[in-house]
């Protein structure tokens, strides 16, 4: 598959850019933050995006989707990244939906996915129990109770957990924290008894929550009981991949704004873009971004071909995008000087989102370690 965008993808890109810059510029996120909006994103906007067919872009037609690929989905995430648009895309339409798609039986599967595709149903993945990404370090317990399971434990950094209708909870039926075996995925109604959700105020003004489970009943098991790691890993790889696309968009926008500033800001009677030290740093950013763009595209192609390289490529992509997002957002701030430090400017929003995305699903050194392990050294 090609790494350059196809004509169709270019059209999707320009449609998305137009729609998102009109409906969800950075001011949109700022407004939600300043008004301390209880949802943290616009449900109306989300439904608009569903109507455009974006939410179910990769779902099959039976689930109300458009049967397109991650290559197309990445185009949307890149555009959302440019304006830092807050939506439940990652939590519902990728993480949650991939778990359901791969793990749920019909008719539950189609029922939930079409709800998601229509922008009605929101999902969230309740995974993290530590401050660092470690998907098998699970102590939340799933215990047999009658026909089903009840779950007990505590989860943090649950993206969009505060508004999700259903939670996909990662819990353990056997083994010890750190074991890949014994991990299962359980679908839980957020309003079920024993479920307590509290929103946590994040630095990037996006949405996350803590979830406490106290013998909360599961409505269904996704995948094999105790063998959920296969589904989980596939969902996480895809979630990580689209997060990379988001970072790529964010960093591209940050870079372009910075280059523009270098061309217009004057100090010492000249444009600051004439300073060679800044030029060289801009050239470095340009190259690093070009490399990021290529690996993101390749990763999406591999996902769409369901190739055996997906995990390795996802790690290359996340390591690189974490580093690039960090580099570009820091340089953006430094090169803008004092104005970048003010809340009034949007620069801080880019810096904050880049840092959160950097740590989400493992940072660069996590993914270098994972890649090396996958390569067997």
């Amino acid at each position: 598959m090609a790494l350059a965008l196809t004509e169709e993808q270019k059209i999707l890109q320009s449609t998305a850019r137009e729609f998102i810059s009109a409906n969800a510029p950075v001011a949109h996120l700022r407004g939600l933050r300043d008004s301390r909006d209880a949802t943290g994103f616009s449900r109306d906007l989300w439904k608009e995006m569903a109507k455009l067919g974006w939410v179910g872009l990769t779902f099959d037609e039976a689930s109300g989707g458009s049967d397109l690929g991650y290559a197309e989905l990445a185009v949307l995430f890149e555009e959302c990244g440019r304006t830092l648009a807050p939506t439940p895309f990652l939590s519902s339409a990728v993480l949650g939906a991939e778990c359901v798609r791969r793990g749920a039986a019909e008719p539950l599967r189609a029922q939930i996915l079409s709800g998601v595709a229509q922008g009605e149903t929101l999902l969230a993945l309740a995974l993290d129990e530590r401050a660092h990404f470690a998907p098998y370090v699970i102590e939340t317990k799933a215990e047999k109770s009658g026909e089903g399971y009840v779950l007990t434990g505590e989860k943090g950094f649950v993206l969009d957990g505060h508004v999700a209708d259903r939670l996909v909870v990662v819990a353990r039926t056997s083994g010890a924290a750190g074991d890949r075996d014994g991990v299962g995925l359980f679908l839980v109604d957020r309003l079920a008894k024993g479920v307590t959700v509290s929103r946590t105020g994040m630095v990037d003004s996006r949405n996350a929550a803590r979830v406490r489970l106290d013998r909360a009943p599961a409505e269904a098991v996704l995948g094999e009981v105790g063998g959920g790691a296969d589904v989980l890993d596939a969902a996480l790889d895809r979630g990580t991949a689209v997060l990379c696309a988001e970072i790529l968009g964010l960093a591209t926008e940050a870079f372009e704004q910075t280059v523009e500033y270098l061309k217009t800001r004057e100090q010492f009677g000249v444009k600051i873009g004439t300073f060679q030290a800044l030029k060289h740093r801009a050239s470095v950013m340009f190259a690093e971004l070009e490399l990021a763009r290529s690996i993101v595209r390749e990763t999406m192609n591999a996902i769409d071909e369901d190739g055996p390289d997906v995990p390795a490529l996802v790690s290359v992509a996340k390591a690189r995008c974490s580093d690039v997002g960090s580099l570009v957002s820091r340089e953006m701030l430094q090169m803008h000087g004092g104005i970048g430090m003010t809340d009034e400017a949007d620069i801080g929003f880019y810096l904050k989102r880049a840092r959160v995305a950097e740590l989400t699903f493992g940072d660069a050194s996590y993914h270098r370690d994972r890649f090396a392990t996958l390569q067997g050294y």
């Binding site: 105020g201 430090m341 003010t342 740590l359």
Partner: protein
């Protein structure tokens, strides 16, 4: 951002030991005997005058809570007593109320002050930036008018330097001051003015000749911030509320007698003050050390403050911090901190004979701020998602403080002259590379 945010200073200064007493106004070398008697004198004065609440508690003592009414009262008393002896500015001439001490005496004073577990009070923009410049370049009348107030910290000063269009290029400033009778009438705006909303007076750069080349039309003037026509609005930062303000001037009137140096020759004064500022920023935290003095102890020192912060989040493996890449980076930062601290000490020794700060201040300012940014980034990585909170539940207070501190640290390499400007200064002034 031109100015220094005092609140943030501890983020990048607390691990630096700048030799504060470089001795700008040293006198004749006293003999060892008289030094010893001076030491005794200081020691008994301290015993009598330094309130217990202003010292680190001795073994077995219960510390007074910070900010308790008693401690606040004591702090005022301690400042007043020190100011009366001139000890807030130990080396300044006694005729203006300074301590009048020689280099050696000042050193003794600081040793004894450290030995009782306290610090000399009153460090401020007045004592460390404006004061030295006034003593060097002000006229007799100006010194008599302002130096005693500075020593007693009677006025809080704000620094009117940066403007919205003139950040790194400070000399591009556009705030106008026109002579009308025995006053100057000021119009324009300053930004990044630390603590302007709590300050009494401002030392301010103004353009008094708009037609001259940009460095030649600037003057350095002092005026009261309570004057009519001054408007002050605080600035919100990416890390939240700040001490920074934007200050607007509309026909503000300043007395012409408070113009320092010659009219249109203010640039040299401005630069001199910047050198003192860089020294202060890069070097703060000197003064009171731990009880027990500076003698090398027979136990190995511990350099693991970052590791201790990281451990609860990262965990251990085989007795080592479990994330090896992080451990490597963290260790490099600890090491660089040690090396930087030693360098401030070594350079301090080497320039002892010199008067005033040298251009290496640029190196310290630049390196210390970049190092702090690095430190904050590494700790953010170490704390993981617990470092990503903004407010509310789910985060401990020190975690939220870390997040704000991390964000705030991004300004360190911009305020007080950007890292880029500091590197230019090193290349030009220290290395002699051509323009």
């Amino acid at each position: 951002m031109r100015s220094t945010d005092l609140d943030n200073r501890h983020y990048y200064c607390h691990y630096l030991q700048w030799p504060t007493a470089v001795g700008h106004f040293s006198k004749e070398v006293r003999s060892m005997e008289s030094l010893e008697s001076f030491r005794q004198e200081v020691r008994s004065w301290l015993e009598e005058n330094c309130p217990a609440s202003q010292r680190l508690p001795r073994d077995g003592e219960t510390p007074l809570p910070w900010g308790s009414p008693q401690a606040v009262e004591d702090a005022k008393l301690w400042l007043e007593r020190c100011a009366n002896k001139g000890f807030t500015c130990p080396s300044w001439p006694a005729e203006y109320g300074g301590g009048g001490l020689s280099n050696e005496q000042e050193k003794v004073l600081r040793q004894e002050v450290a030995a009782v577990g306290t610090q000399l009070p009153g460090m401020s923009f007045g004592t460390h930036m404006l004061g030295p410049v006034l003593l060097e370049l002000g006229n007799e009348e100006q010194k008599r008018r302002f130096i005693p107030d500075i020593i007693h910290n009677r006025l809080t000063w704000a620094q009117g330097y940066s403007e919205p269009g003139a950040g790194s290029d400070l000399a591009g400033l556009q705030t106008r001051a026109e002579r009308v009778g025995d006053e100057y009438v000021i119009n324009g705006s300053k930004i990044w003015t630390t603590g302007a909303n709590n300050a009494d007076w401002m030392f301010c750069l103004v353009r008094t000749d708009p037609d001259a080349p940009k460095h030649d039309g600037i003057s350095f003037i002092l005026f009261d911030l309570k004057s009519p026509g001054v408007t002050i609005s605080p600035i919100e930062l990416i890390s939240g509320a700040s001490e920074f303000c934007q200050v607007f001037f509309e026909d503000v009137r300043a007395k012409a007698e408070n113009l320092i140096g010659e009219k249109n020759k203010g640039w040299a004064i401005a630069k001199r003050l910047l050198q003192y500022e860089r020294t202060m920023i890069s070097g703060m935290g000197g003064g009171g050390g731990p009880r027990g003095g500076a003698k090398r102890k027979r136990v190995a020192k511990r350099y693991r403050s970052m590791a201790d912060m990281a451990l609860p989040y990262v965990g251990e493996k085989d007795g080592k911090l479990a994330d090896f890449a992080l451990r490597d980076q963290l260790t490099q930062t600890e090491m660089d901190t040690i090396c930087l601290t030693l360098t401030t000490k070594r350079v301090g020794e080497e320039v002892k004979a010199q008067k005033g700060p040298g251009h290496t201040a640029s190196m310290f300012k630049w390196y210390a701020t970049e190092l702090n940014k690095r430190r904050q980034e590494i700790l953010t990585t170490a704390l993981g998602t617990q470092a990503l909170g903004w407010e509310g539940e789910g985060f401990q207070a020190h975690e939220l403080a870390h997040t704000r501190g991390w964000l705030r640290s991004k300004g360190n390499s911009i305020e007080g002259g950007t890292s880029e400007v500091q590197m230019n200064v090193i290349a030009k002034r220290v290395l002699g590379l051509p323009d």
